[in-house]
Symmetry: C2
């Protein structure tokens, strides 16, 4: 058992027309809109090499999630049996990390238009990585 | 720009024969071994529903990474031009999060045998999620 803890500082924020969790689809490919990622100017040079058309993994922090949830009904459907949160993609989990595979549509300075993405407006972005080819993705 | 910060507490640890970063391959499919994930007993019930044969995303915290790296030579190859760290999968980045798509090979209580995985022994695990089908993976 590890007793250490680590501090995450957001590297940016999601700017989306989705303003509440109830309106957000469960996954990006379920009708989610495009959105802008505003990357902090202090780390914007780390974007160099990303270009429109690229597929990237946006990693978010679900700041409104319940971190003490260990079991839940998948997709909020109470007719489904309880499942461990590590066996679901629910935001409610000990470290509420979100993974979003999206396409880069436009880049303007420290702002990236990406989509589709189901994260709500104001969601902190904590990392961005290039997606691996779909045959060997993480 | 977001000024908040968040605290991550590991939910487990990687137990691997890989003991130093130099010996670790860059990606899991480049000759990495299988390894055990030891999940903290306090959150082990969140594993319920995961079974051998499942593909999961193991999310790690590269605790030995350099967090102030914004540009680097991809794969440590100095003949390659510098690239932004968000355009690479290097562990060296502001929030050193690792994504590993692996297969579950065996489960014994709070321990999961998974592979292949390039994370070194002692790497903190911060989340586990089911992988989405490869055609729509995050």
């Amino acid at each position: 058992m590890i007793k250490a803890s680590y501090k995450i500082e957001p590297i940016g924020i999601v700017r989306s027309e989705l303003v509440n969790c109830e309106a957000a689809p469960h996954q990006g490919n379920e009708g989610a809109p495009d959105a802008w990622l505003e990357v902090n100017t202090t780390v914007a040079e780390a974007l160099e090499g990303i270009k429109p058309g690229d597929e990237i993994i946006v990693i978010t922090w679900f700041h409104k999630a319940h971190r003490n949830t260990l079991k839940l009904h998948p997709r909020g459907d109470k007719s489904m049996p309880l499942k461990g949160s590590f066996a679901t993609r629910s935001p409610d989990r000990p470290n509420p990390i979100g993974l979003h595979r999206v396409t880069v549509l436009e880049i303007t300075g420290n702002r990236l238009k990406v989509g589709p993405i189901e994260a709500v407006d104001g969601t902190p972005v904590i990392d961005i990585k290039p997606a691996l080819p779909r045959t060997e993705d993480s």
